[in-house]
Each structure stands twice: as C-alpha cells, then as structure tokens.
C-alpha cells in the first residue's frame, strides 16, 4: 500500500495497528529538514538499546541480558 496524504496515512496506520497480519505501507513524504530544528534526545543510542531490552525483560518475564557477574 502506498500513501501520499496524511489522511491516507491515518487510515492505513489505523489498520496496521488494529488488524492482524503484516502490513507494508510505503509513505511518499515531502523532503524536510525540520528535524534539524528539534531538540535531540540526550539518551545515548547504547542506552536506548539497554532500556529497550530491560523493558522486554520486564514485560515478557524473560532474562535477555544476564551479565557476567
């Protein structure tokens, strides 16, 4: 599915979120440098990885990073 308008995106993203099955949406967007004006997160990428994995451990009840003690 290819979308190029925001309303189309909303419709397809809603389907992706609510329906079972793999959904592949190609979004045709306008070139933008708006992200350069945003305040960047001060969270390091490695920190993001560990935070994500600890979240999975917490919510899935499984040990992923067990450390070496």
């Amino acid at each position: 599915m290819t979308v190029s308008e925001l309303e189309e995106f909303k419709r397809e993203a809603t389907r992706a979120l609510n329906q079972a099955g793999l959904r592949f949406v190609v979004c045709k967007i306008e070139e933008s440098l708006g992200h350069r004006t945003l305040t960047r997160s001060n969270v390091d990428l490695l920190e993001t990885k560990y935070r994500f994995v600890r979240y999975l451990e917490r919510t899935e009840g499984k040990a992923i990073f067990q450390g070496r003690g």
Binding site: V3, S4, E5, L6, F9, K10, A13, A16, L17, Q19, A20, G21, L22, R23, F24, V25, V26, C27, K28, I29, E30, S32, L33, G34, H35, L38, T39, R40, S41, V43, L45, T48, K49, R51, F52, R54, Y55, L56, T59, E60
Partner: protein, 130 residues
C-alpha cells in the same frame, strides 16, 4: 505529506507496541515525540527491518512497527523476501525455522525450503516503511 505530522498523529496512539527506527531525521523526530521504553532507535542504516523481523518472530503476541527509510531498505533489500519466507506466526514455527538454520548452516538453503509467496504478505505483524 510531512513525516513529522504523521509521527505526531501516531505517537499518542501507541501503547505496548514495539517500535524500531533506523537513521537520521525519522529517528530524531520519533525520539522527540515518543519517550517510551518500547522504542528502539537504532541510529543505523540497513538493520531496522531485520531487527523487527527478529522481534516479530520471538514475540508473536506483540505488535511490531518498523520505521524504515528508502536508503536503509535498499541497503539490505534481502530482508524483504526473508520476512515473507519466515512468515512469523507462532513460536512453534520459529522453533522449527531456528533448528533448520542451525542444521543447514545456510540461509540460502532455508529460503529454498520455503516456497516464495511474494507478493502475498504473511499474517501476524504490522510494518510501516518510510
């Protein structure tokens, strides 16, 4: 259509879905709008889709969203047929695939085992490419 507007609309809707982003502007924009622990902002090209496939296979009960860019997908285009061939459905299926990979030691052989079903997409996960 502006990407930031899409993210701005989408971010408040997410609850426990796992989100994987790749590189550059989309990572900055999504990181600006979403502060969830369930976000994995990789900050690299060519592996978001692969990570998303792995998450979908390992956690078939979780919804996984992958935000990719055109360049990032092109860098590892082989992930697309892999996604279709592995067709993540249940943990049992993953276990079977994993054992076969270990036994054969060749991803090519594994792909031959499965009859390609492209462009029919498998059931189970949601995926969005930018």
């Amino acid at each position: 259509m502006i990407r930031y507007a899409c993210f701005e609309w989408l971010a408040p809707l997410l609850t426990d879905q796992l989100v994987v982003t790749s590189l550059s502007g989309q990572r900055v924009e999504w990181g600006h709008l979403s502060k969830r622990d369930a976000d994995l902002n990789l900050g690299s090209m060519g592996n978001a889709l692969a990570v998303g496939i792995g998450l979908a296979l390992a956690l078939p009960h979780r919804k996984v969203l992958v935000f990719e860019s055109d360049g990032s997908v092109l860098l590892s285009l082989f992930n697309l047929p892999t996604l279709v061939n592995l067709n993540p459905q249940t943990w049992r299926y993953l276990s079977s695939i994993t054992k076969r990979i270990a036994a054969l030691g060749s991803a090519t052989r594994v792909r031959r085992r499965e009859k390609p079903i492209w462009p029919q997409l498998p059931e189970g996960r949601a995926l969005i490419r930018w």
